[in-house]
Every structure is written in structure tokens, then in C-alpha cells.
Amino acid sequence: MLKLKQLAVGAAALGLTSLAAAPAFAQNKQITLCWAAWDPANALVELSKDFTAKSGIAMKFEFVPWPNFADRMLNELNSKGKLCDLLIGDSQWIGGSAENGHYVKLNDFFDKNGIKMTDFAPATVYAYSTWPKGSPNYWALPAMGDANGWVYRKDWFAKPELKAEFKKKHNRDLAPPKTWTELKQVAEFFQGREIDGKKVYGAAIFTERGSEGITMGVTGALYSWGFQYDDPKKPYHMEGFVNSKDAVEALEFYKSLYKCCTPPGYTNAYMQEGLDAFKSGQAAMMMNWFAFFPGLYKDEKVGGERIGFFVNPGQKVEASTLGGQGISVVSYSANKDAALQYIKWFAQPDVQKKWWALGGYSCHKAVLGDPNFAKTAPFAADFLKAMNGVKDFWQEPAYAQLLQAMQKRVHDYVVADKGTAKEALDLLVKDWQKVFKEEGKL
């Protein structure tokens, strides 16, 4: 009987303790930040510990691998899901997310809290925050600047016998290429060559079909040939622009680079496949996002002084494909205040400096405008250069349709040998015209 009584008292005490603890638990707020699963996300986890320490708001993270990121997150937004309080969404989503009410408009919040968009690099504000494009309507804070760049095996480029052979063949030094023509020469030079007892290949480029890979790769060449999506004087008028002579030449060039100089089986490769090829010592050069460069530089096997970086080569103009994202508050969040608190904290210059130091690419002028910025990392100067000439894909609400059309047409031409470059771009113009007609913009 005594035992039973003791048990009852114990249970009551436990119940009381839980009740007493309940209000304290309720006060412990938690917000969820959604992003892609990649190196900078790990840096953000580290950085956000400071926010939790300062605000008492716990951070939960939902990181989705890149190939599924758009599907997963757009599904979440379209279903008005409450999973994410904060979302670092791709730049192309901004039109749809603004028009469909997925993101909270941040103008009033910025004004109240003294957050000035003029503190951020103009290209990043334009690309990551505004909709309609260039208007002072802000739906995100520039969070992660990024562009497509290149990394190369500096140790291979420095081999005396290779240098001599290259010089003899091309009458110039074996150095990071300045144009796509030079890049192809270098790639051809390395293709199939045996280095340190291993067969190596010229260049790992984007060829992925499913999400956005080949479009991001091909646009790297198109932009360097001066590609324009439409007539600057007549928006959405694409005939003669998307399928211009230069665009055809650029697309043909990209295909020739794919055919001559990629590793075997490289028919569906994006960021991860590129990293795999490069880290395993297969490729002399790799196209990839700047976001991966801090991690690559730290890599024990291929990093450090063994590698170098260069900005996307020019051809007719200097230009790079834009990556990167802004951070937005999701309209369906139940913790909007806490999410806005995070943005206010994140916008501070000191936090931005730490963000860059940890491996994130800050867009804040306090970081980028620092005279020593170019010296802070071996890829910093190229990042600055790239960000000055970035160009992005359509950011329209119908971007997914526009992107899928391009994926199909260029993959059909580049990888599947279907038709000519001109035919591929003509079909792309037709696809895009159809989309814009459905959208009522043509």
C-alpha cells in the first residue's frame, strides 16, 4: 500500500513539474529555415548559432538536395505549407512567389528597421529582391551572391613539360583561359592525356536534363556571345534575339566543347557530378558555382595551392550566369515576427562579414566594398568580377515552363544530337512565345 502511495505521489509530482515547465517551453520559439543542401548551408547553420544566442529563438533547418529543391519547395509554397518560416529561394522564383502571395513584401519592414537596399550590391538587389524587376518592391533580402565560375588544376598547368608543349602548339602560355576559344584549346590539350599515371579529361561542364543544369551551362556561353532574351525596346519580342547568329554560334560552341572534352558518360551532369569528376582528379577544368569554391579550396585531396579559379571567359562580351538567392519570409508562416527578426539580424554588416568568413557569399557593400576583399580568398577577386557582369534567366511567374522548354531544346541538340543549333533555338523561341501568349504578355 505504501508503495502504491509513493507511486501516486511521484506521478503527481511529475505531472506538476510538466505543467510548470509548459509555459517555459512555449516561450522557446523556433523557426525553420529552408534552403538547398550544399556547402553554404552548413556555413549558415554555424552563423545562425549567433542569432539563437542573441534572440533565444531556436533555428531548425530544412535542406533539400539541389535536384529536388525546386520541386520540393515550390510544392510547399503552392500548397500553402507551414514548413518554412524563412526560405532562401532561387532567384527565378521571385516573380511567381511575389505574384502568388507566397512571400511577404518587405518594404515596410525595411523602412521601419532602417534596412537599406542601397547597402547591398545593386546587381544582387535587382536579381534577388525585386519584382517587378528593377522596381522598388522588395520580396527578399540578398542572402547569397553567386555566379557560375571555373576552377582549374593549377598544379597540372604548372608542369614544365606540359607548359612547353602547349606553348609550342598554341604559341601562348598554358594559363587560365580568357575566352571560350582559349578554354576549348586548353580542354582539348588535356583531353585523354595521362597525368601522374591517370587518364584525365578537359572540362567538366553542365549537361543535366532534369532540373536546370544544361541551361545554366549553355547560358554561360550564350551570355559571353552577347545573348539577349528579348528586344530591349520591345519586351518579350524574342525572334532574332534568342535565335540570333551569335546565339547559334555560342550553342554550337558549347556542343563542340561537350563533344571534345568532357569525361566519359558525362551526359547528365550538374554541380555534384562536376565536383565528383574534379575531386577525383579526372578533369583539368570544371564549371561550377562560386558557392562551392571555399569548400573546394579546403579539400584535402585537390584543394589549396593545387587549384586556381577564373571567371567565366568572355568571347564577345564579359558575362557570367547568375546563381544565388535572397532570403524571404513565407506568407503562410505562423512565426512571421521571429522570421523578420532573423532578417533584421542577418542584414547587419558585422553578421554579413562573419557570413563571408564562414564560407557564405555576402552581398553587402560592407563586405564587397572592403578594399581588402579581393585578397580575403583566392576566388574573391573573380567573384567580384563575375558579379559585375551577371545575367539571369527569366524571372517571370512562368519561369518553370520557360526553363523546362530550354532544358529540352538544348539537351536535345547538345547531348542527343537532334537537329541543328538554329533549329533548337527556333523551337525554343516558339515554345517561349507560346508561354508568353498563355500569360497574356504577347
Binding site: 511567381g96 515552363q401 529540352k408 544530337d417
Partner: protein
């Protein structure tokens, strides 16, 4: 359970039923009780099968997009149906589907029947080998798709090394899933590897259903094994073979998982079967109305073809 035990069980159940419930049940007819038992299944069927079907039909006549929840939904009549049936890309996808369905069925039927014929011989250890042959169809398509994608890797994949061992070709000189010519066959091969055992199983059931005395009578008439095969085995197993073809045909017409994991429709759109196109329209381009119309067209096609086939099957069975 014998009759006495059964009666006592029913009696105990009746006495244990609470009085109000017993009163209600006693007032119900047999038909009402039958409805009471099947209604959960019917409700479930309506909720997860019929309702989505009706809703899909309704959406197929609208411009609805799941990613534009605030946009006005307009009725656009048969525009989507017209647009789908006149789109060369859709016909290309249908061609890819037809290629896949035709070759997988043909190869699987021949191999499946041959395997069933062998296993039916009842050799020593035939039970063990039957189980071994059945393993591929017990695996999840997700697992099969992923590990074949690895096997097909030109640099590290075992498949290329095996081919290279027998032919002397350089293993990295060809790509199964990256080549326009080989990719459709790469998928046919994996599907055949996975589903031939299923065809074998159905054919085996057919072969085992043939009475032994027919063969004994044929032996008495001195019919050769070849003659016995063409006049007894094949005609009597034919309804089962046709059934296997029907099941595999319907399944492969809708094939998604293996293709998605192996090639994702590529290279380019070489292996883009109808279900991949449908997925792209519905969940990548978010054209919900359009993809609903496409789904209806696919459903009607497979339903119509299956009906014609079932009529043929019935004719064969009644012979």
C-alpha cells in the same frame, strides 16, 4: 470449428452485444447489414479513386495551375485536348512509349514462357531456382533503378566491364544510358530483367493447369514432343500468356519509376515516355489543367486498348 462450437460462439457474441446495439441490428434487413459491411470500402474507393478521377476530368477543361492559387480559373473547353493531340512532342513521347511497351512485352513473353517451360520440367532443385529467378520482381523499382544506373556507369559500372570482357571493347567507349541509340534498350533490358519472372510465374500456372492425361494420350498416338508443344502446350497455355501480356502491357504503358531513375527521359527526350511528359507538365511546369487532359487521354487509351484485348482473350478462352 464444428457446428456446436459455432453455435455456442454465435450465442456468446449475441449475448455480449450491448442491448441498444442489438436492438438496432435486429431491426436491419440482411441487405442493410450487407451495405453496412461494404460501405467503408465503397467510401474509401470513392474518396481515393472516383473523386480524383471526376476532379481530373473537370480540371482538364480549365486553365487551372496548381502554382497560381489566386488566379482566376477559366473554362477553356477542349483546348487542352486539341493542343495535346496536335503536339509533335506528345506524339514523340507516345512513340517512345510504344517502342518500350512493344519490345519489353515481346522479349519478356518469349523469355518468361521459355523459363516457365524449363522450370516446369521439375528437375532437381527446381524449387530453389524458381525462387532465385523470382528475386528481381520482389525488389522495389526504386532500388532496381538506382543500382542499374550504377551498373551502367561507363567508368565504374560493372555492365560495361562485362561487355568489354566478352567483346574486347574499351569499357568507357560506350554509354548505355547516355547514348541516344542505346538508352531505350538500356531501359528495356532492366525492365526485362525485373519483370520476366512475373511473366514466367503466370505462364507456369498455365503449364501446370494442363492435365497430364492429354500428354499421355498424345504419347499413345506417337505424337512427337515438337507436335505436343504446338498442339497441346502452347494453345492451352495461350490464355495465360495473353493475361501476362495484358498485365505487363498496362503496367508498361504507365511506366514511370524505372525510366525516371535511369534516364529521366534523356538523353534529350529520347526516352521520354508519356508518363515522364505527364510528370513534367504537372509538377515541373505546373500546367495542371493541361496535364489533367493528358492523363485522361492516357487513361482512355489504355482502357480502350485493354478492353479490345480482353475481348480477344475471351475468344481464345472460349475456343
Amino acid at each position: 470449428m464444428n457446428d456446436v462450437a459455432k453455435a455456442s460462439f454465435i450465442e456468446r457474441a449475441a449475448t455480449a452485444t450491448p442491448a441498444p446495439v442489438a436492438r438496432v441490428v435486429k431491426g436491419l434487413s440482411d441487405r442493410a447489414i450487407a451495405w453496412l459491411f461494404i460501405s467503408p470500402t465503397i467510401i474509401l474507393l470513392l474518396a481515393i479513386n472516383i473523386f480524383p478521377l471526376v476532379w481530373t476530368i473537370q480540371l482538364s477543361f480549365t486553365n487551372y495551375r496548381a502554382n497560381r492559387p489566386n488566379a482566376e480559373v477559366k473554362n477553356i473547353g477542349i483546348d487542352h485536348f486539341q493542343s495535346i493531340l496536335t503536339d509533335p512532342d506528345v506524339w514523340a513521347a507516345m512513340q517512345a512509349t510504344a517502342h518500350f511497351v512493344f519490345w519489353t512485352i515481346l522479349i519478356q513473353t518469349i523469355l518468361g514462357f521459355a523459363l516457365a517451360y524449363l522450370v516446369d520440367r521439375r528437375f532437381r532443385g527446381h524449387g530453389f531456382w524458381t525462387t532465385v529467378i523470382l528475386i528481381p520482381m520482389m525488389l522495389s523499382p526504386a532500388v532496381v533503378g538506382n543500382f542499374w544506373a550504377f551498373l551502367y556507369q561507363p567508368q565504374i559500372g560493372l555492365f560495361n566491364y562485362v561487355i568489354s570482357f566478352f567483346t574486347g571493347l574499351d569499357p568507357s567507349s560506350f554509354e548505355m544510358i547516355g547514348s541516344v541509340k542505346l538508352a531505350p534498350w538500356a531501359i528495356v533490358l532492366v525492365d526485362t530483367w525485373m519483370w520476366t519472372p512475373y511473366v514466367m510465374l503466370i505462364c507456369l500456372a498455365g503449364l501446370r493447369s494442363i492435365p497430364e492425361y492429354i500428354y499421355e494420350a498424345a504419347e499413345v498416338d506417337r505424337a512427337s514432343k515438337w507436335r505436343q508443344f504446338w498442339t497441346i502446350t502452347l494453345p492451352m497455355a495461350l490464355p495465360f500468356i495473353m493475361l501476362a501480356v495484358l498485365f505487363r502491357g498496362i503496367e508498361n504503358f504507365k511506366m514511370f519509376d524505372l525510366v525516371n531513375l535511369l534516364t529521366n527521359g534523356g538523353p534529350g527526350s529520347t526516352t521520354e515516355v508519356a508518363s515522364i511528359t505527364l510528370k513534367r507538365e504537372a509538377f515541373e511546369k505546373w500546367r495542371t489543367g493541361y496535364s489533367s487532359a493528358f492523363a485522361i487521354i492516357l487513361f482512355v487509351t489504355v482502357f480502350g486498348l485493354a478492353n479490345i484485348y480482353v475481348k480477344a482473350l475471351n475468344k481464345v478462352k472460349s475456343r
